[in-house]
């Protein structure tokens, strides 16, 4: 009976570790990639807007070179602030389901003003005027495409909402399971509370090692430093998010391992002290000649 109880305790400790793992992973997703404010903060941290601005200027040059216009035609046409504002609109569309549009009228107006300044009253024929209008259209299109490459913002919003709901439900369920397991661990053998401390310690130790093992498996199979999705700038944001979360995983892993070992040692110390006390009590209760 004692052996079965002990085995059952061990099973509960494994389940405890798994449940804490589930809670950690769901919270990690909910507070990082599924959080609009977190994603926007990573855009800032990785200088995303500056990189997009540089990329845009590089892309615009391809068209400027064949237009007969000078590079300074793009001066003041679009700024990092505008890029940030438009990127934030797209992020709002994805995370909050809004229907913001990228506005290009400002770009069109500024560019036409610059072209007029460049021409400086020079007469141009209809064909050239048409090709200049085409040039302005191409620049606006290039801007919109560079800011974001997808038209699936609403679809992305649907998936994000679904995923957030599932994780919320999973999180709540996992917390109830956690409480149940903790209660079960303690009521299995109320007379040995010290042993329960060791069991909890074993769960944390197991969890810490799983974290480290899991991270190594992921890094071995997924070279995230070579990741490329949509653009270099966006890929840099993803790399930053992955880097941070892997580092945090190791920090928690070390904490769990240390906590686990401490709890195991403490549990065993109390357990052995209690055993000794009981043994001493028993010896005192025995007749004197047997005690000797």
């Amino acid at each position: 009976m004692k052996v079965f109880l002990e085995i059952f305790r061990y099973i509960l400790s494994i389940l405890l570790a798994i449940v804490i793992l589930v809670i950690y992973i769901s919270n990690m997703f909910l507070s990082t990639v599924l959080s609009e404010s977190y994603v926007l903060s990573k855009f800032e941290q990785s200088n995303y807007y500056k990189k997009v601005n540089d990329n845009l200027n590089d892309n615009f040059l391809k068209y400027i070179m064949q237009s007969g216009l000078d590079e300074n035609i793009m001066d003041g046409v679009c700024s990092e602030e505008k890029i940030k504002q438009d990127t934030n609109y797209i992020i709002e569309n994805i995370y909050l389901g809004k229907n913001n549009e990228i506005e290009t009228e400002t770009i069109r107006t500024n560019l036409n003003n610059n072209i007029d300044k460049f021409l400086n009253g020079q007469e141009i024929n209809e064909e050239s005027r048409k090709s200049l209008d085409d040039f302005v259209d191409i620049i606006c299109r290039e801007y919109t495409n560079t800011i974001f490459h997808t038209n699936y913002e609403q679809k992305a919003n649907t998936y994000i909402k679904k995923f957030q709901n599932y994780l919320d439900i999973l999180n709540k369920f996992a917390k109830y399971v956690l409480i149940t397991i903790v209660i079960l661990i303690f009521i299995i053998d109320i007379k040995k509370p010290a042993r329960n401390i060791s069991i909890a310690g074993m769960s944390f130790l197991l969890l810490g090692i799983i974290f480290i093992y899991g991270k190594n498996v992921i890094i071995k199979n997924f070279n995230y430093n070579q990741i490329y999705i949509l653009s270099e700038a966006f890929s840099d944001v993803l790399k930053l998010i992955l880097d941070e979360n892997f580092s945090l995983l190791i920090v928690y892993a070390k904490r769990f391992i240390i906590l686990g070992i401490i709890l195991i040692i403490l549990g065993n110390i109390f357990q052995i002290k209690i055993k000794k006390k009981h043994r001493n009590k028993k010896i005192l209760l025995l007749p004197k000649n047997i005690q000797k």
């Binding site: 494994i14 068209y63 400027i64 070579q226 065993n268 052995i272």
Partner: protein
């Protein structure tokens, strides 16, 4: 007594840690047994969708011109820089790329993939923007001027023998043939055009045999 106590605690702790490691082994083996294929498939899909192979670390290959067959031992990929174009009479010194995309033309002279390479004995069709850092001074070229193309596999000099203004649709004026080595470089015309240019300024040059 304290020694015994410490020994007992240590023994109990080590046995608990061993149990944890056994748990870990069991969990890993269960995962491997039931989920290994699915996990591998998931990683392959993620890698396929998101990982870009590093192309910059490809080993540089020595290109040689095989004189007997007039073929190259190795052909550059689209986007590879494989030489330089120099026209001393108008101060042009630009990199030469294989390919003719807008991205390539932003950086130098493009080489049409449908034409031959220098040294192969056929038509070499190149193009560049008439932008100030590119071929803006094409109008100053004269008959007899020399165009030098230095590649990874040799140096070739071409003497200009003709210059024409063509419509962008006059593709028959740039025939691709393999009987004689002719270099054709074109740029947009007029040179000070504003907006899209519908004409091309084509320069024809023949190889100067050594």
């Amino acid at each position: 007594m304290p020694n015994n106590f410490c020994k007992n605690v240590l023994r109990a702790t080590i046995s608990d840690i061993i149990v944890v490691l056994l748990f870990l082994l069991i969990i890993i083996n269960i995962c491997h047994y039931f989920l290994e294929d699915k996990i591998q498939e998931a990683f392959e899909t993620i890698n396929f969708l998101s990982i870009r192979e590093k192309s910059e670390e490809v080993e540089k290959v020595d290109i040689k011109l095989i004189k007997e067959t007039k073929k190259l031992s190795y052909y550059p990929y689209i986007g590879d820089k494989y030489g330089r174009v120099r026209i001393d009479s108008i101060g042009v010194d630009l990199p030469l790329y294989h390919g003719d995309s807008l991205q390539i033309l932003k950086n130098g002279i493009g080489h049409s993939p449908e034409s031959y390479f220098p040294g192969e004995g056929g038509t070499i069709l190149c193009m560049g923007h008439n932008y100030k850092t590119m071929l803006r001074n094409f109008s100053e070229l004269k008959l007899g001027d020399i165009i030098n193309i230095t590649t990874d596999y040799g140096e070739f000099n071409y003497k200009i023998y003709d210059m024409r203004i063509l419509k962008e649709t006059d593709t028959d004026q740039a025939p691709i043939q393999n009987e004689k080595e002719i270099l054709m470089i074109y740029t947009c015309y007029p040179f000070n055009n504003i907006g899209y240019a519908y004409q091309r300024y084509m320069v024809y040059a023949e190889l100067i045999e050594e």
